[in-house]
Symmetry: C2
């Protein structure tokens, strides 16, 4: 809505797939792009210069976490997230909605941690007996997963917090439903999310950036894994004056379900606006989603897998068997393996260390292990996206996709 | 003994204090210098390029740990420690003796973990009922602290392992006594350590470097906190053809005891050889030891304190109270403190982050916290040593020492 906040330029279209550039006041993002997650204003285990050196263009931070700890006021006093966390490239924040419903509410596990934290109120309209959260038209009341304190979030609060955090791109407040919700509840929730989208827009328009540069606002498409709801939500959000569109919520239970959600959603979206797919980052999903017209992705997979000892690789050396593009470096077979994590990788880890050394670090509980594998996994994602962009530019995306999926 | 392994040049003498340069085939070390500890072939939580950028000249690795995990053969197959861990500056390894006696034996706690691991043998001549280790003239048998497996170490084994690891400077095998040992046992042990020193020398002379560059051998002075023993040990080790001298073992129970040990030891040592004080790294001790003629120091304090949230600082801002040159960054008073960890520090952390951000990372259990404080603490040690060297060059060491100790 602020014409200076975000410019999205499409360079090529290959079927539904797009090659583009997102221009923010903190720099450009070549798309399709992978967004590295730094939930608590830190990418787990690696400093920002290392994150950037791996080819990362854009970071994702979580409003819910930062609202609770350290609090938006402290980030604002630093001059916003970029200065707080020393990342001077573009940043995207979510609205807080997803975490309110997943961490605050423990929806996925159907578990309520406390019998009733809001005495006298009706039980929530959620399956699973959840009692950490109360949703109403106004917004959400929830209990902190950190200290049990009570908080309220609404479209207005979410936008205010995201103004204080100062990301380049921010999200409208939405309710994130789960596969446990039936179609009736999902429709009810989606319609409220659309009203919250209008309120987010108004709150955003009424407020001003606080750190001397503009921000862009993305709407969020909901509707679960239901065709009619996804189409309706996509058309509704597309009709509002957002700067970009995020696809969120329940994407079904299988990859096929997710591809169906994209097939219903994307044709309803305006060609000129960037499209972000929330929380997805495995190789097959990225390839399928790029093919369907998604521009950006965020996922904790590269950092979380690194902590667990899994290095991302496209193919094994010498007929080595690779499942799901991962090598488990804790495995005894790497004890004397003097090869880099991935043949041909240009990352700082692969240039200087062996699998044997990294396995030693994991076995010895040295935290440097996580750091070295994170560097590689971030570079793996950046190289994957670079290769996807090059294949789009050269009109050979289908061949790249087939070659990559044949490896899996 | 190999004239190419180590050259030590003294540039200035100020009383007993010395300004010098240690030249190894992996580069020069300006002394007095602090040696950063990377026990398991990794400095805890930070990559080698970061360690070097903080001004670190020399690393210390532990033979006992690396012998047990990953095993010397694996390090040797990499071409030695430098290539294994991607540190291309000078490295010093200890002999394994200290950890055999402290980790294998749990001497400090006087606790034996297993009633008898060497059935049929006489109980050890150690206080505290220790039973994880058996010492004899030949060497030591001990149980791994990792998996309980049985191992034997001797001067010949230690030298062989240190040849495989390939540090620039290695130590003769010694028994490290504790404050719990009486003078009789300490003398008995010291005399055996002297015989082990002779055996270490012979084993070193009979063997050749295995990685294409020479190694230097240091002898270790023992004798506990007993004047006559320290003098005798210093004179005995000084008379052997070592390339340098390390001062090890029990240095007493107080700083005053340690200064006394140095006062007894150092006058017996040859002026031309470098002197390393094992395991000491607090600011007052370094200043007192430099004044008495020590050239190098190693200590886990910078990395261990960083893990616990303690940043090293010389002085507080605005009359801030500092105890023992440390700020505990977990403290609530830093929640909104936008200042760097230490005023005037030029480290990568102080240039880019606030105390508030680093405290946030500790409270949020982000591992980046440890990494950022480690960078600062390593730089603190490097700057301290740079200032000491400059003060020696300019003949104002006493003024620097007084100013630093007045801060504490």
């Amino acid at each position: 809505m602020d014409p200076d906040a975000l410019t999205f330029t499409l360079h090529e279209r290959r079927g539904a797939a797009r090659l583009g550039t997102l221009q923010t006041s903190h720099g450009a993002v070549r798309t399709p792009a992978f967004v590295v997650v730094g939930t608590q204003a830190a990418v787990k285990g690696v400093a920002p210069d290392t994150v950037a050196a791996a080819g990362t263009q854009l970071l994702f931070a979580n409003t819910y976490h930062l609202y609770l700890r350290p609090g938006a006021a402290i980030v604002e006093r630093h001059g916003g997230l970029h200065r707080f966390m020393n990342w001077h490239g573009p940043i995207l924040t979510d609205s807080g909605g997803f975490q309110v419903f997943s961490l605050g509410a423990s929806i996925e596990h159907g578990v309520g941690k406390v019998a009733s934290i809001f005495p006298g109120e009706a039980p929530p309209r959620l399956p699973g007996g959840n009692s950490m959260v109360r949703i109403g038209e106004e917004g959400v009341r929830f209990k902190s997963h950190i200290d049990g304190s009570l908080h309220s979030f609404s479209p207005e609060v979410s936008i205010d917090v995201q103004r204080a955090l100062g990301a380049d791109m921010v999200l409208a407040f939405d309710e994130c439903t789960s596969p446990l919700h039936d179609e009736d509840y999902t429709r009810f929730s989606m319609e409220r999310t659309h009203r919250w989208a209008e309120r987010s827009l108004r709150a955003f328009e009424r407020s001003a950036p606080r750190h001397g540069y503009p921000q862009a606002l993305f709407g969020v498409v909901q509707g679960g894994a239901f065709r009619d709801l996804r189409r309706e939500s996509a058309a509704t959000i597309a009709a509002m004056p957002f700067d970009g569109i995020a696809i969120g919520g329940n994407l079904g239970s299988t990859l096929q379900d997710m591809y169906a959600v994209l097939d219903w959603t994307i044709p309803e979206l305006p060609d000129a606006k960037p499209r972000h797919l929330l929380g997805i980052g495995d190789v097959p999903s990225i390839l399928e989603a790029v093919e369907r017209g998604v521009d950006t992705f965020d996922c904790v997979a590269p950092t979380r897998n690194a902590r667990n000892g899994a290095a991302f690789v496209r193919r094994g050396d010498d007929g080595e068997r690779i499942a799901s593009f991962r090598l488990n470096l804790r495995n005894a077979r790497f004890a004397e393996d003097l090869r880099p994590l991935e043949a041909g990788c240009d990352c700082a880890t692969c240039r200087s260390y062996t699998r044997s050394y990294v396995r030693h670090l994991f076995k010895a509980n040295e935290r440097l292990a996580q750091q070295l594998v994170t560097v590689h996994n971030l570079r793996f994602m950046a190289r994957l996206m670079e290769d996807i962009r090059t294949s789009l530019a050269e009109d050979r995306f289908a061949a790249l996709k087939a070659a990559l999926l044949a490896e899996d």
